[in-house]
Every structure is written in C-alpha cells, then in structure tokens.
Symmetry: C2
Subunit: 130 residues, 2 copies
C-alpha cells in the first residue's frame, strides 16, 4: 500500500512537483508506482488559458475548486468548469482550458505519466518508456 | 470529449449511483467510457467502518473532504486520512477504512469498473467483462 500526503510531497519530493507557465502539478502517482495510471493534483492560475492536446494519452480531469471553461477545438463547443464537473479526453481531444478563478483539478492519465514528459509545441506529451 | 457534472448525474443517471451499507458512489467514468480506468466520487458515512479487498483491481483513493483512517491488514499499520492524503492499493491490499467524519473520496480503478460489480463476501469486486 502506498500512502502519500499532498502537502508532504511538495516538501519532501520536489521532483514530483512540476510547473510550467501558469500551472503546476503534483504527481501523487506516476508510472513507476505500477498502478497502470498516473494521478495528479493540478493547479491552473486565475486568468490563465492553456491549449493541450494529449495525442498519446487518455486524461480525465475532475474539478475540485475554482471556475473556468473548456473548449473542444474539434466541435467549437464550450463547457463550464466548476466543482463537480469532470471532462474526459476519450478521443485525445485538442482543447483550450481557461481558468477564470484558480482551478484545482484531480487528473488521471492512461498510460501513466512517467514524470519526465514535457509539453511539446503541439500541446501533447510524448510517450516515454517507463 | 465527455463532460459530466456530478450533480447532474445524481439526478439524470441514477444507474451510475450505487450505494451499500453506509457508503455511496457516483461513477463519473465506467469501463464503457473507454478510458481504460474508471473514476468515482465516493462518500463514506461518518462513524462507518469498511473492510475492502480488491483482489482483481488496483485502486487509488484521494481524500477531498473528511477525516478517518486506513489500516493495512497485511502489516497492521494505520494511516491518517484527511484532505490531501491518497492511498493506492498497489498490492491488492486488504484494508479497513474508517470514517470519523464523512469522507469524500476521488477513486480510480484499473481495470475499470463496469458498474455491475457487487462487493462479494470477501470485500472484493469480481472481474466482469465490459
């Protein structure tokens, strides 16, 4: 059994905290943990806008806190994001995520993120061997 | 892209809300959603105690609200559960989960739950074909 405390990880395992322009993410579970998925708590700054396109991963994102919107770039549809709303990128959907207020999200990736990926110019993560 | 609102599911998709003695769970993602994992928001009643043993699934559980503890029955170790704490059953660990206050948890199962499982006498879910 793995037991991890978000607030401890940020202090003792800084290598599990990643950040980029206007977002940061704490990797509670990575590929090396052997669960077959990774689990992240992700913060998006108030007023920020992000274009992501996970060509190689499925991702689900559950909003725990904050307010914003997501636009599906394939259809042009925009959905409100607020606590209790989840989106799932079941078709590797290219999307824009906007945070009106800081968003705090619980994210699941399949295949699991290894922790070494960086966002590429096209908004995707490359696949890495675990 | 799948977008689902927790509060809407409880009203419009009652088949995605399951409950048993002193817990209930809203299945935001099931096997049929094709993500390779399922994602549930689960409530455990204040004062309740649960013995679970997912012999056929890996599960991670992130505490969003409440207070309690988990005991790993293999080692006898007990860990505090509070917001920000996650446990991951990477060895199909048999465990007792106690809610001192109502616990609200974000749960991920691999393989994904189909929605038709019931807890068996041994605390496990049987594997189902999706």
């Amino acid at each position: 059994m793995i037991v991890r405390d978000f607030s401890e990880i940020t202090k003792t395992q800084p290598e599990r905290v990643v950040s980029d322009a206007k977002w940061s993410s704490v990797r509670m579970l990575l590929a090396e943990d052997g669960m077959g998925f990774s689990f992240h708590i992700t913060f998006l700054e108030a007023g920020s806008e992000h274009t992501f396109h996970y060509k190689n991963h499925f991702e689900s994102v559950y909003c725990m806190q904050g307010k914003g919107s997501i636009t599906d770039l394939a259809t042009g549809e925009t959905h409100e994001i607020k606590p209790g709303v989840m989106y799932a990128l079941n078709a590797h959907d290219k999307h824009i995520l906007r945070a009106e207020e800081e968003l705090v999200m619980a994210c699941v990736f399949n295949p699991p993120v290894t922790g070494n990926e960086v966002h590429q110019a096209d908004g995707s993560y490359a696949l890495e061997s675990a």
